[in-house]
């Protein structure tokens, strides 16, 4: 039997598909266990999106429209690493978020909070050779979401990453440190307790830009490769 190229997540690292407190999951989670697939070329390859041309405005969500969006300007930065701490160079990151008032620029979002004509909330960036990335944005607001009585999502930014392979694909959410709403959020709490903190960015005074913006650091860890057996 050939050895898998990418390590498999240990139990407790990801949320359970069926997390009943998050009320959309009972009708949207498979009952049968996933079949473990030995990794072939289909799983160890994946899109690099190398031909996607990104412009600088895509990683600065405050400069995509005519004027400046309202809200607290922030720097969100970090590194994309694998489980061995090695950088994932040139990784494509995509983010989306609501505005400072807690409203998404999306026709499906009917929350009674103002839209900001200067903020769409979408961005892309490509990590550098050391896996470093940076976005400029505004701090998203909390928003109500009807999952249960008085349900509010903690402020969060959605992140989508490809990494090097189909096997390493990840969509996640970044939260802000010590947000009191984290204790009440079934989506955040769907992650086993020991692993949850990984989803909280760290307040980063060193990267804060004086007179301009606070900074948060969010490192993202994708699946690492198994050691290559010695010949």
């Amino acid at each position: 039997m050939e050895k898998d190229t990418y390590r498999r997540p240990a139990a407790g690292q990801h949320p359970a598909n069926l997390s009943p407190a998050y009320k959309s999951t009972p009708t949207r989670s498979p009952k049968q266990p996933a079949i473990v697939l030995p990794q072939s070329l289909s799983e160890i390859t994946g899109p690099s999106l190398a031909t996607e041309r990104l412009n600088a405005l895509e990683s600065d969500l405050t400069k995509q429209r005519m004027g400046e969006p309202l809200g607290e300007r922030i720097v969100v930065h970090g590194r994309v690493l694998d489980e061995d701490g090695k950088p994932v160079p040139k990784a494509m990151l995509e983010i989306w978020q609501c505005n400072a008032a807690g409203r998404y620029h999306h026709p499906g979002d009917q929350h009674d909070a103002p839209l900001d004509p200067n903020f769409t909330g979408g961005g892309r960036a490509r990590a550098d050779e050391e896996g470093k990335y940076e976005f400029i944005t505004i701090k998203p607001g909390a928003y109500p979401w009807k999952n249960h009585h008085n349900a509010w999502r903690p402020a969060h930014i959605h992140f989508s990453l490809f990494g090097p392979a189909f096997a390493t694909r990840l969509i996640t959410q970044m939260y802000f440190p010590d947000d009191p709403l984290l204790g009440y959020d079934p989506i955040y709490q769907s992650v086993p307790e020991a692993a949850r903190k990984r989803l909280q960015a760290r307040f980063d005074i060193e990267t804060t830009r004086p007179e301009w913006a606070l900074a948060y650091k969010f490192d993202i860890v994708l699946r690492g490769r198994n050691a290559t057996p010695m010949e």
């Binding site: 489980e83 999306h106 989506i187 990984r198």
Partner: protein, 187 residues
């Protein structure tokens, strides 16, 4: 020092703009070699209700069976303009449409070849972890010897096999659960 994986979270209902803009569901512009095919994937929840806020991604080899990726080191042609990646959200009918080329066969690590297939990711509100599955082509004689289908209970194999409709479109309904639950893979 070992680093701990970042946990997965749902895509949520509001990904619309960023993730989909800029990614056509047409993977194969003119000039790309191979048989042009149209794929329609549809998404249903565990109660058979269509999912209008889902997102499908597909990843496939080109018609020569070559993946556009540095870890596919075989000496087979790459097609300019064909990466093999597509993304489309489901519409009000729960459907996502792609046009692409029929992929060639790719090898299996333990020897032999896999039947032609398209790799699929499913995301949606209420889906906390990416659901990975595959699309195979009905009538392909290689299905009988495919090493992945052999891992699947024969009763459930049809959930992975697209059928061609009267208009020539390949259709595969994907059921997150329920009586016709699609086979998902831990990749």
């Amino acid at each position: 020092m070992s680093h701990v994986l970042t946990p997965s979270q749902t895509i949520g209902p509001f990904y619309f703009g960023t993730l989909v803009n800029g990614y056509r569901a047409d993977l194969a512009p003119a000039g790309v070699a191979g048989e042009r095919i149209e794929l329609v994937l549809s998404l249903f929840d565990t109660e058979g209700v269509l999912v209008p806020d889902g997102l499908f991604e597909i990843w496939q080899a080109n018609s020569h069976g070559r993946y556009n990726h540095p870890d596919d080191r075989r000496n087979l042609p790459l097609d300019a303009g064909f990466e093999g990646f597509g993304r489309a959200s489901t519409d009000m009918k729960g459907e996502a449409h792609f046009t692409t080329v029929r992929p060639g066969r790719v090898p299996w690590p333990a020897g032999g070849e896999q039947a032609a297939h398209v790799n699929i990711n499913v995301f949606a509100r209420g889906v906390l972890n990416r659901l990975a599955t595959r699309l195979y082509f009905d009538g392909d004689p290689a299905l009988a010897e495919d090493p992945v289908l052999k891992l699947v209970d024969a009763k459930r194999r049809p959930t992975l096999i697209a059928k061609r409709d009267a208009g020539g479109v390949w259709r595969l309904p994907i059921h997150i659960g329920g009586g016709r639950e699609t086979v998902f893979f831990d990749v």
